[in-house]
Symmetry: D2
Subunit: 363 residues, 4 copies
């Protein structure tokens, strides 16, 4: 609700810019009693980290979180969790051209338009380094969700026109995803994607893609009609990430060509619960979880920073040419996966905490 806060019950507030001293992250609303240490945050931070492979940027960010508060005797204590990240790799020199020339696809121009001036070192506040806070907070959310039996996995579904063949999204494993640096669980497609990214990189270009995210174990009932539907909050959560240009769940945009008789999922008994025969609805009906797996996809645009000359203007509006220096991901998908998972986790834990009070249980 504030620009730099996400969530209503499990609230993440962040500050920091790519080339300042570091990032601050405050998580308010985490229940007391959750075992937590820095180690819990490291795996997803490592997956988000630049320099994991030649597919991703070679910048070196230590990305080591320090938990300053909110954890006592190894457990969350109900007070706000304060986490800081110190910035290290701040090659300001690489970005000097930024002062005068607007980088196409970036937020340089719009930040200037909004605030009158901007931190021109790297992306400033618009840098994707900001997602380091989201991924750390998301790791805590995931740990809470795991206790509830909820598991979240994301993977690369498509890069360029190479699409992964996934028979059943709910059967994809973490190991399959992490088996290749491109985080695509279909090995054949993964190799083609890797080759494509490599060729795009050599061509000083970048390429977009689609990430699929699956949440299993979410019981029926999460989501708040009518504005804070689960689908709506997931849409906001994911589209708030840098480079995301689209969101869909279930059959998504494919519903345009569907008949009601095809798209409606018949209800059937599933053991002791009610489920649906098919899952065109992607696990949400009326914006409330149905108990079926939540399946969604987001579109990620090609990295805006490409090391080739681009047409642009100066701050004064004079046409010029820009040649981006520095190291950049030729494809954002591999590093996007933990970011997407984090936003799904943050949305789900928030809705769990909200749903938990939907019914009277006060005797």
């Amino acid at each position: 609700m504030a620009a730099n806060t996400f969530g209503e019950r499990f609230r993440v507030t962040t500050a920091g810019v790519s080339h300042g001293q570091g990032y601050l992250c405050i998580i308010d609303g985490c229940p007391a009693g959750l075992p937590l240490s820095v180690e819990d945050l490291l795996p997803d931070l490592a997956r988000r980290r630049p320099g994991q492979s030649k597919l991703t940027t070679q910048r070196d960010e230590a990305d080591l979180p320090e938990i300053w508060s909110g954890v006592f005797d190894g457990k969350t204590d109900g007070t706000p969790i304060g986490i800081i990240f110190r910035n290290q790799d701040q090659r300001s020199g690489d970005y000097s051209e930024n002062i005068e020339k607007y980088r196409p696809g970036h937020a340089d121009f719009t930040f200037d338009a909004k605030f009158g001036f901007r931190d021109y070192r790297g992306g400033g506040r618009s840098s994707a380094r900001e997602t380091i806070c989201r991924v750390a907070a998301g790791a805590i959310a995931k740990k809470l969700l795991a206790r509830l039996g909820v598991k979240i996995l994301g993977y690369t579904k498509q890069i360029g026109s190479i699409s992964a063949k996934i028979d059943n999204p709910t059967q994809v494993t973490f190991e399959q995803i992490e088996a290749t640096p491109v985080r695509c669980p279909d090995p054949e497609a993964a190799q083609k994607m890797i080759d494509l990214i490599d060729s795009v990189r050599k061509d000083r270009n970048s390429i977009g893609g689609i990430c699929e995210l699956v949440a299993t174990g979410v019981p029926a009932g999460w989501g708040e009609p009518v504005f804070d539907k689960l689908k709506a909050d997931l849409a906001k959560a994911l589209v708030s990430l840098p480079a995301v240009t689209g969101f869909e769940y279930g059959d998504g945009f494919a519903v345009a060509t569907k008949l009601g008789s095809e798209n409606n999922d018949p209800f059937i008994p599933k053991g002791d619960r009610i489920g649906t025969e098919s899952n065109h609805h992607g696990g949400m009906l009326g914006g409330i979880s149905s108990g079926e797996p939540i399946i969604l996809r987001v579109a990620i645009k090609p990295t805006s920073s490409i090391p080739r000359p681009q047409k642009t203007v100066t701050r004064e509006g004079q046409p010029t040419e820009l040649l981006t220096k520095g190291r950049h991901d030729p494809c954002l998908l591999p590093r996007f996966i933990p970011m997407g998972e984090a936003m799904v986790a943050l949305t789900l834990i928030d809705h769990y905490l909200r749903h938990n009070q939907s019914r009277l249980a006060m005797e």
Copy 2:
């Protein structure tokens, strides 16, 4: 931020169910001094109204708003605008089967799962009749935006596999849109869509589609990094509408196959402002408006209520068959247009009010 409130600065709170006494809508945060009367709300409410043509449901809802407060001497007075709508057409008999059988594609089951029971008369709170409040509030937002030079138009882009041919979304006129009951500005496609909907209706089925929405006149600078990006809040606003299963802006999901060199829009001077040569970015960069037209699309699933037997279960989980009675839209697109426009308008006016305080202007 609360389940039934939308917006941070221009806040819309609603209550009401389809078969209760009526709906309440409170708008908090509208600046004082805007000329306003019931007449301002009627045009969009009429566009949302059932029974406009054989393409839409024949239910008759008077949909007449009463403004109870917030307007004095013909102008908004800075106090909350209270609007009520009385319900009239409440043929409860049509819905009796709802008590026991879960309608596929609807929120019956998930409401029960969430709250333990539900208002089984019509959709209760999940009924799309709730959007009557959104459309009324949206009409006020549109009137405010018009003073700022911002104009919002939506139209049917696709139904089934029939796609409208729109050379330039920003050139589409209200008159072109309203020329046909299907609200598609391409007359040729419109006729095909009408025929398709008619045939689907006769076949006791329904069909999905895609709505495109265009906002022109939004200056550069609206949108709040990092969570409340304009793109993120538009995504939430639109996906919170019933039946919406996807959101994209600019090139949307098509970015997956794009190279950075194709997707980046070069900056160019445009008279006294800076603009972009192309608009793959759909008017938003870094989640902040760029001054270029905002263009987005949403996917709308086929109406879940179809007048043919469907497989489902009872509340107790017993397999059964359901035959929906009552009148329903064979395609939601025509009536969706004003709803989509309303949500864009509510999001934009909220962000205008937020942006307005981004810079110091305090001398």
Copy 3:
């Protein structure tokens, strides 16, 4: 958080002015399953109603609520509770002088200063008739709290220099309070207060007083450090009521002359819980309930409307004289009691719902 919304989890949003068509009240966040009907709201509304005795204004307001939504089959159903009140007694003629002359002690001038103009019929939005919504919502909160064993009572503690002698605030009963129209449980003081109000009324004047409020049964643990302390939210809740000019809890302002050794309440075992020997802390430590009774007091200024000539200025700033017509309470205390109780109830239920998620209970 918005101007016309109170609460975070149990959210009350209101609209309406004293001389418009009526009031709207939307309560969002009430758990499903609470038996509720209009009858539950009537007793407190009757206590708030004008015209109960010659001590209060003789205006006749029917104050009959209509619950339009949020209750199904006699129980709250988890959707927002929509309540409307129609205005009836709208003698606009009584208030015609208001247009030009600012009433001392009222919000006429400050509303004009804020919004540029104002609804000059009665107090408009600043009229205490707005509390009708608070009292209705408070009655629902009280009903929820009663299930938790929490009971809230308010009474007149002081009027002018007549102070009630209350040996133990927690022993005061509803019957003692309601025994006299002045709602003071000390019969002797009550009679003196009645005589004082009567004499003040005859003298065309008004008189202030102090209300004491007691909440028993609140367990230890409600209240959120560091900003949303229970004491802080109670302060806001009560000071937001018209005419309230002060708030204190426990020893309140008397702490100024206290030594730490006098003011600290020693902890002692109390059966199976830990309590304190004395209750200087008014039931809150560190802003969190201690399990001891919550005791607080608010100061209420004399009614600003007095039927005698008063010096003032016109809208243009010209000195003039004003003679208020209409009927007004010579003392606000009797009708304030249910308003004060309502705000305590709304604050407590909100904090109950918040506290309820302070600890992990997720297995």
Copy 4:
């Protein structure tokens, strides 16, 4: 709205405990363009600092803020201001008895009751060291307010039964206040207060008092009816501070004995604006600023930590005796002044930003 966030438009979120690594403070909503450096924060932080005189605790806290983000080229840049404070003086040994014994007057017991356990080193999250963040944020708010002509001063009005004689609160100067370590602008009373505190300290006790706060230069119109009245938000802001047990503005609790004819302030012309002859209303009418000085008072209890044996219980409820060690303020008033000023400043700047959008100014 969240436990650890204050404000709606100028939002301060904090984390940190007295004996952890340090504090994080994120300020979201500060307009871009305000010149700001660490030096702006130091004066008020120095006034809040322990060890200023023998009247205050001798603990040594460096209290040096680091601004990690939100300031670029010496000016706020519209992105969140991130400030950290490292903790230094962490004599955990001093607090070892805290683990088992509940300190009377402190939040040890209520934190345990709320969260199940607590950080027993010092006050943990309930430590008044948390106000370091409030004072830093308040200094920024003050700087913004100064540009609007608003000035805030607080001073010690009463300690024990020694009351300062202040003829005109609006004439008190910063220099008069800072002339003595007790921050009382009446030199005679100041000396008596110093002597009293000294004697109380020697007697291993503590003493309470009253702080008066004055805001001048606030124009008419700030404050949002009906819940977010300026008086209500000031009440919450100040009562949220540790040790505050009461709040009043204008005549406060003295209204109880006032007649309407005495309490109403006649409106009069004051140059080119409308003002009031007297200021019983403390600068707020209907919860909106009137243009007259805002005057309020808060009651502050005697320090709970007193170095003498006190009766209490263990966590298990066993009666025991506690002897507090460590250094503590014998009277909180001197160090409270900057905290009180900060909360007034944060409330006022928030309401300025809100009021600023009350009227249409959109052409």
